[in-house]
Amino acid sequence: MVEALRGHWESWVQQRLPASRVTTLTQRKIFIVPSKTAVGLLVLIALLFLLGINFQNSLVYIICFWLLSLLLLTIFYTWRNLAGLTITALGVEPCFAGEKVVLEMELTRPAHQPKYALELAWEGEDQVQVDLVTAQTLRVKLSHSTTGRGYFKPPRLRVATHFPTGLAVAWSYVTVDVRGVVYPAPIEKAFQPSGNAQRENVEDGREIAGGSNDFGGIRDYQQGDGSKRIHWAKYAQTGKLYTKTFVDYASHALWLEWDELPMPGIEVRLSHLCRKVLEFHQEQREYGLRIPGTLIEPGKGEAHKARCLQALALFGVQDA
């Protein structure tokens, strides 16, 4: 019964307050009821009425009725403190699963209508109280915890106010029509293939994931170069010591390949690839990503990283 009612309520709210990028809280969208404090005031008013009756005291009656009027008036005031507020969803910053996703919004009030003590809250999550007094617009960030990767659709946001007296509460629900991307949580430590060094130099110039250095060229031996890095073949040819150099990663793209990963499990693989993307990005390498259904040509930079991470985040996710 309760469930049915709740479902009914939910669908009604959804119909009444559809998701939108920009929401202006108009009359139809605002709910208002007296608060718990108002119940306390009503008890006081009843007491005063009794006092007025028993002592037949006009002034006590006046205080009693004045407070009653204040209670009624405050409903209008509280309502007005919320009315006209525009909430624009600016976007959701991407984050990794398990971290807090942040929704950025812009609150705009009508001119000449300062708004006080506006409360924005996600149930059981972040909440914030702001004033819009001198500024007409204000950017507000609100965070929400995440569990898995994929799209993040911000849940219904409760925008409320008790201002000015706390005797009434006006509120509305805002469903912002933006979605964010939650990347897979990067695995702690990237898997290092146990393959030998020979595999580094494969014919097609590609390197498997887990490769580290790339052969760049040779130069004259200098004191202190490790024996492993001496180009013995050249020494055999020339009798002079040369050292192999490993430079210019950019010239050679690295590939992050789904199929090359030895571990089972989609999520583990995604987490692993996520870690590698972060590592390569950190090291400013050029890298490409190949996972089933998606191929991202090698590249570097923030945008490239974001593209790769997004591909990982949305792997197998139905576009909602």
């Binding site: 028993n54 205080i63 624009t88 600016l90 009508p110 109280q129």
Partner: protein, 669 residues
Amino acid sequence: MHKQITYTGMIWLLAAQLVVMLPFVFDLPLWLIPVLLFAAGWRLRVLSGAALQPGNVTKALLIGLGIGGLVLSGLKFPSLDAMATLLLLGFAFKSLEVAQRRDAIVVIFIGYFLVALHFLYAQSITAALYGMVSMIVLTGALVGVQQSVAEFSAAQQVRFNLRLSVFMLLQCLPLMVVIFVFAPRLAPLWSLPMTTQQVKTGVADRMAPGDIEKLSQSDALAFRVTFKGRKPAQHELYWRGLVFNHFDGREWRQFEQDIDSQQVQSALLTNYRWQADAIKVQGEPIAYEVVYEKTGQPWLFTLTPAMEVDGEVLRGADYRVMARQALQAPFLLKAVSYPDSQRDLELAPELRQLALELPETGDARTRALAQQLWRETGTEQAYLDRVLARFRDQRFEYTLKPPTLGASDTIDAFLFESQRGFCSHYAGSFVFLMRAAGIPARVVVGYQGGEWNAAGEYLAIHQYDAHAWAEVWLTGQGWVRVDPTTVVAPSRTEQGLEAAMQAEGSFLADSMFSVRKIAWLNGIRQQLDTVQYGWRRWVLGYDGAEQAALLKSLLGTFSVQGVALLMGGLLAAIGLLWLVLLGMTPRREREALEHQLYRRFCAALAKRGVLREPGDAPGVFAAQAAEALPAVAGVIREFTQVYEGICYAPSADGQQATRRLKALLGQLK
């Protein structure tokens, strides 16, 4: 959310507490204020980190001290005083532990209650205005504790909260008045014991030499009267209050046993009850309304005999009118009197006996004088005239500063030695002389005269109008009023005490700077008094009867539909007024021209396939758009530049800039 109250909120709260508690010091123990200041000081130190929150032991100790103080202050339990003091004590202590918004709201609500409670002690316009101030400060505090993020400075915030509070309370007034006028007035459900240390003013229930002179030094208001028809002549205005039958050689009392008002009340209900058929109604009726000030006593003052009285009162066989309870608030009475009526043509034996009794011994010279005069005259009327003539012919003086008369034989001392006295001396000795000759007589105490307020068309009777006169029962005439004072000082009843005391200069001698003595100030005082009277009559005196009368005059015949229609209409009117006041009528927000143009610019670019994200700053968006649409890159850049110029560095010639925007927009389309 932010449930803690801020430092500013706390200051608000303490200020409100102080404002609310202050007026109580006039009626309740004074030490409550230091208690509040102490608690407030501690709380502020806690807030600023200089002290620790008091522990439970400390709190218990403080509360114990407070209760101890309450017990020692000698208040009677249960009484309103004790309850109010207890509430105030809790109110003061509560500030010690206010930390959360919820606590603050409890304090504010108790504050509202205390504002109302104070009106049980004082109901003057001043008290009401002060109550209004308290309401404003309390409401300001209510707003103050809701604010958690202070964008203003403290001073700005105080101003803002006060202004909001005043606005809201003013906007509440119309609705409050409607509810006040139309809300049902019920009879008291139960009666609460009132104050214990009540201040009693006005005429007392006994009369010793000097009592009424003291009263005459007070210019406090006793009551106000509006006459429905003509106003009787000044010398006819004898406002009967109490009747004194018993004399013990020094003091006049109501009955032989020294009884209190409760016993008088029960007497008035039984053997001393008013008998309507004892009166032979004659002459013109005088209809009037009296609003009595709060006196702490049940005595009411009317013209004799009051035949019709409207209200919860008792009437006695001696034609007195008495309230059922001591007056703790202004009291309205409507009455019709027939002063020319004949009263008690047949005098009941017990009343006769009461009106004849004298002390067994004492005042021998007076008794001898009475015997002698009676022998010389022989009839009641002649004897009476003779006694009055004696007052007139001998060197009797009317004075506010009579000499003291000693402990016994006071009548002798007055009649034969000092011969200087006030109304109580003349009335007392006259009644003594009558009784000594076997003529029933009694002392009546009340007020005589009054000050006519032409602006308000009412009569104001002050304490200095207090007066004592005599009533004599004459065969064939019944009770006849005799005022021996008029024989000595005729101006007393014609022009009032002030005129009678002009030679002596003792009128209100103690209040040197009384505004009464300065003509133009006195005019202002009368105007103010008119306002006060309106307040008494229409605000404080608005009760169930008034309400019924008003409804009847508003609706003609009383009907449910009529009331519903009236209420509905009034509420609708108030609702409309509110909407206008609050600016809730839908009003289109006008957007500045440059913003309109920028929106059109974005729309034009969107048509070309470049969408602006809501979060994009104009500059960022312009760079993107220019890159995407190299053909119009120049236009995009310039438009954005001009737009940003208007927004962030407004110039004198904004018109030219917007014209340029329009031109550029034209190129885009």
